[in-house]
Amino acid sequence: MTDFVKTGNAVPVATAAIPVAEGAAFRRAVLSGIAEGSRLLFLAGLAQDAGRTRLLAALTDDGRGEIGLIATDVAGAYPALTPDCSAAHYFEREIHEQLGVHPEGHPWLKPVRFPPGGPTIGEADFFRVAGAEIHEVAVGPVHAGIIEPGHFRFSCHGERVLHLEISLGYQHRGIEAALRSGPDKRSVHLAETIAGDTSAGHASAYCQLVEALSGTACSPRALALRTIALELERVANHIGDLGALAGDVGFLPAAAYCGRLRGDVLNLTAQLCGSRLGRGWVRPGGVAHEPGAEVFRAVKEGLRAAERDMRNAVELLWKSSSVRGRFENAGVLSRQAAADLGIVGPPARASGIDRDCRRDFPGAAYAEARPQIAVGESGDVFARAFQRWQEIENSLAFLAPLLDEPGAGEPLTAVAALAPNHLALSLVEGWRGEIVHLGMTDGAGRIAQYKILDPSFRNWYGLGIAMRGQAISDFPMCNKSFNLSYCGHDL
């Protein structure tokens, strides 16, 4: 990555220091970086004056914790990266939709979110599998359960799914636009609602970004509390998903126990901050609440009791051949496909990719210590389920000493004004995987550009690939093993 300016997680860069290469040189630099083993972290289109667009590529060298940035200015069209870099496919669809720039040679520039002023949602072309015995199954946007909306279209031969199209955008609320011209009194609350089940994750990414751009250093205690918030969120969601997976294969005892245990962990979060989802806790400069030693003790006790019951409930799952029979070899996402698509989080690790921001780009208190990182192999539903359980075990083992000694210092440090004309990337390993926020300030230190990358943005396509060749009746279980966010994708 010799042509790139080097930065890291939450390290501000002067906008002027980002090299703006000529189109062909940009393309060459990005593709050769990837050929040398770097990963496409982000490809963002940033609107400039006079209808021009600045393409900003961020590549990472996970082993070194380095991020390289390079840009190019385009007007109207440019040769797409996707034919040579699969991981760019969705970013280029987004750039096309948001800015009207045409990545030439992209296989199919389907809409991503159907924002106002564009095509009507639902009226889109879908990939069709032709043949007399092929039928299509269309599901959504309103699904059968209490689930966010999205449209799935399966092309099937009998029970077998040949192809799954996932068309989203129903939850589009314009969060990125709402965050522009901030920070203001709504910003951190908006960050908490990017994906409500990841309130601590996205709020941490937002706060880390603001702290980087303003040069604010949080106290060790604030960072430890933030880490506790992130790990509790991980445990609650993972155990809830294990219960939902059990429900999807009709194994109701584990479904009932895990559903309750998810609530128990949410209630512990509420003891620490007042909200089951961790709302109002993570704030720029630290955390809003200092619960006190007694609450930490109570939470530790509560977690110990919950862990006993989790172990009991989850062992039922692993020891039931009817459950194993459904989970094993279903919905396989190969290591190669996961790598090519840039899959992140538990689905990547379950496919054997050792990638985790808590180690590779440590924020919060992860630089000091972190949970053990589990990595699976088989990439099937079982691997993703077992991955969740291992992450629960590792997080609980990590949380106990942290709750004993959550560090020293004030919970909240005052945040100064943001540095003008700077850009920073903020990475947080949320429970679904790598969350990336990108913020760029204008000359007055206001947010001029704000980009959000929920792990779901990358992983939805992975679900589509994992469904190929599967029985359509296995879809709920495969879907739940990823459990991706609709609103985190739709923004």
Binding site: I121, P141, G169, A177, G259, R279, D309, C487
Partner: protein, 256 residues
């Protein structure tokens, strides 16, 4: 089978005894706000200025808080120099009238139960079709929690069903995104008469944090007549359950 039975014994009986017993909510829980206009400092508008959703305004009689917009962040209570605003631990927030969500002083409007004829029609069952229309999965998660063994809404006959054809009404979350407007209306139309509409969460009631944005409709009120408002961001499962039980006349309304 034997292992499952042993596990069942270990996991124990976990269903809460609600409404007979009040829930044990944590000390930091942020529930119903109470205002004391007498403590307001002259000309002070700090609470209004800090509120992220415009839920607060100061009128002639003192501060006025709209629970339909409030996200219960508690920042108004923290910044108030006179301690005129307190967020109590009262989880009972639902109301049948939009105006019932306006808090001045300690006023509590509450829920009027459905008429006798409608309650007779419903019997001991209420089936709802949930529609997420731009919800962040916060409200959805808490509505989902009603189905777990702790809240267990099905013991009151309250269940969430897959098809609008099986439903007595809809429960909407989210600010009603432009992209979900048609699907929401189609789902509502598919429910047989008579039908209920429940708006759960600040977004569905008023647009919440997204109010005024072009991608959404400021909640469902302009599109559908609402029978029950459940404030919160997200509402606690007890807040939702309490509202539903009062609507069904299973809990008597509180005296005002």
């Amino acid at each position: 089978m034997f292992k499952a039975l042993v596990a069942r014994a270990r996991q124990g009986y976990r269903t809460a005894n609600y409404p007979a017993q009040d829930p044990a909510l944590p000390a930091l829980f942020r529930g119903r706000p109470v205002l004391d206009p007498l403590k307001c400092l002259d000309g002070c508008t700090r609470c209004v200025d800090i509120c992220p959703t415009g839920a607060l305004q100061v009128v002639a009689t003192g501060p006025e808080l709209d629970l339909g917009r409030c996200i219960f962040c508690g920042e108004c209570a923290q910044i108030c120099p006179g301690e005129a605003i307190t967020l109590t631990r009262d989880w009972r927030l639902a109301a049948t009238e939009r105006t019932g969500l306006i808090v001045t002083g300690t006023h509590v409007a509450g829920v009027d139960a459905l008429g006798r004829e409608l309650r007779r029609l419903l019997g001991r069952s209420l089936r709802l079709r949930q529609i997420s229309a731009g919800g962040c999965n916060g409200c959805e998660a808490e509505v989902n929690a009603l189905g777990n063994v702790v809240f267990d809404s099905s013991r009151f006959g309250i269940e969430f069903v897959a098809s609008p054809r099986h439903a007595d009404g809809i429960l909407v979350t989210g600010p009603l995104t432009a992209n979900m407007k048609q699907a929401t209306l189609t789902t509502y139309e598919a429910v047989g008469e008579p039908k209920l509409v429940i708006a759960a969460g600040a977004c569905a009631i008023s647009g919440g944090l997204f109010r005024g944005r072009p991608e959404q409709c400021d909640g469902i009120e302009d599109v559908l007549a609402v029978d029950l408002y459940v404030p919160g961001c997200p509402p606690h499962p007890y807040t939702i359950l309490d509202g539903l039980l009062r609507l069904l006349g299973r809990i008597e309304n509180r005296s005002v």
